[in-house]
Amino acid sequence: MKPKVVREYKFPQTKEEMPFGPGSEAGVLIDVNSGWRTLMPIIDYGKCNKCLICWIFCPDGVISKENPQLEIDYDYCKGCGICAYECPKKAIAMVKEGEKVE
């Protein structure tokens, strides 16, 4: 399970709701990174042998290995392409954002 964006994040409305000093809850995400992408990784599950090479190298940690098939959290994938480039089975294709063929 990947950490998820707190979509309903409410900024402090009053002085009292402010965090105490510059310290706040860890792991709060109010924003996704999907907009950074121009290319998008698509896993071809037919080729993927779950060697986890992509999983280990992903700088954004967006690939999950807990289910039988690897899954990508596209909210946070930035489309760097390391997964595809390093995949020994060439099981990941980088596809232009929006032109995804499914």
Partner: protein, 298 residues
């Protein structure tokens, strides 16, 4: 049990950060937390990684963290380790995570002091070979020949004229309980070094090469490849120092030509054959020195 990719947790403790696409430093941070776990407290001096992770209210570390002043990482770690000792907290890992500039330049003194004191912490220097957060200025770990904004290459200037400082040996000279070099491109090696560091008492320093597509000028997808090339060309070595003994983790009989590494990065595109010669010569000397340590305790 040795750590391996297979037995690492899927859980991410570092997520949603704003590092560039393909950031090597981000890989290091992510893997470090996978091994070190939830009871890690990270100290982050000013650097790319601190800047892209802790902008109120978006906080990309899921463990306790502190963004720290740029020069002070080692000292903050000492204070934290001392507090753990005073409070009897035993299962906490105190981790420093700093860039090359924050380690070898402005943070060297604090690190040296903390290592000398023998406080119990892990310090990771993710080495992207320049001040990236401020926009690619040279640091003491910028390699010979590299372009940076403060070692520009216009009018046939060479770029950086000095070789990388040797953090590994500086730490050896401190008789540190454990230090190692590693690379994002060799995750198993890195994971095992992290796991080892977690078990050892006292200061531990890991110097991890972390390619930076933005600063080095390569495609974001090539971060790992570039890391591998650095090792295969002998420009970066994987080694450990433990109980006073040096181990070389990959000790190739021969190196790939350095050009293979340089040609893939914009920061080196002005290098000449003469530069390659200088660099290879330097590399060979450094390897000789390194290998000499092996014979040490026979």
């Amino acid at each position: 049990m040795a750590v391996s990719i297979k037995n690492l947790p899927d859980q991410e403790l570092f997520y949603g950060h704003k590092a560039c696409q393909g950031c090597g430093g981000a890989i290091v941070a992510r893997l470090a937390l996978k091994v070190l776990g939830e009871r890690t407290c990270i100290v982050l001096p000013a650097s790319c990684i601190s800047s892209v992770t802790t902008i109120y209210p978006q906080m990309s570390f899921l463990v306790n963290s502190l963004t720290s002043s740029f020069p002070a990482t080692g000292a903050v770690l000492s204070g934290m380790a001392a507090a753990c000792k005073a409070q009897g907290l035993k299962d906490v890992t105190v981790l420093g995570f700093a860039g090359d500039g924050g380690t070898i330049d402005i943070g060297l003194q604090a690190l040296s002091g903390a290592v000398e004191r023998g406080d119990d912490f892990i310090y990771i220097c993710y080495d992207n070979e320049a001040y990236m957060n401020t926009g690619v200025q040279r640091s003491g770990l910028t390699p010979y020949g590299a372009w940076t904004t403060t070692t520009p290459t216009n009018n046939n200037a060479v770029g950086e004229k000095k070789f990388k400082k040797n953090l590994f040996e500086i730490m050896m000279a401190h008789r540190i309980p454990y230090c190692a070099t590693a690379s994002v491109a060799y995750p198993n090696d890195l994971l095992n070094k992290l796991a080892k560091a977690k078990e050892i008492q006292g200061p531990k320093v890991l110097h991890v090469q972390a390619p930076c597509p933005t600063g080095w000028g390569h495609g974001p997808e090539k971060t790992v490849e570039i890391g591998k090339l650095a090792v295969r060309t002998g420009l970066w070595y994987l080694a450990e120092y433990e109980n006073g003994q040096v181990t070389i983790n990959t000790n190739p009989k021969e190196f790939k030509p350095v050009k293979d590494y340089f040609s893939k990065q914009k920061r080196f595109r002005h290098l000449t054959e003469e530069d390659f010669r200088i660099i290879e010569e330097h590399r060979d000397t450094e390897w000789k020195i390194l290998r000499n340590y092996l014979g040490k305790d026979e």
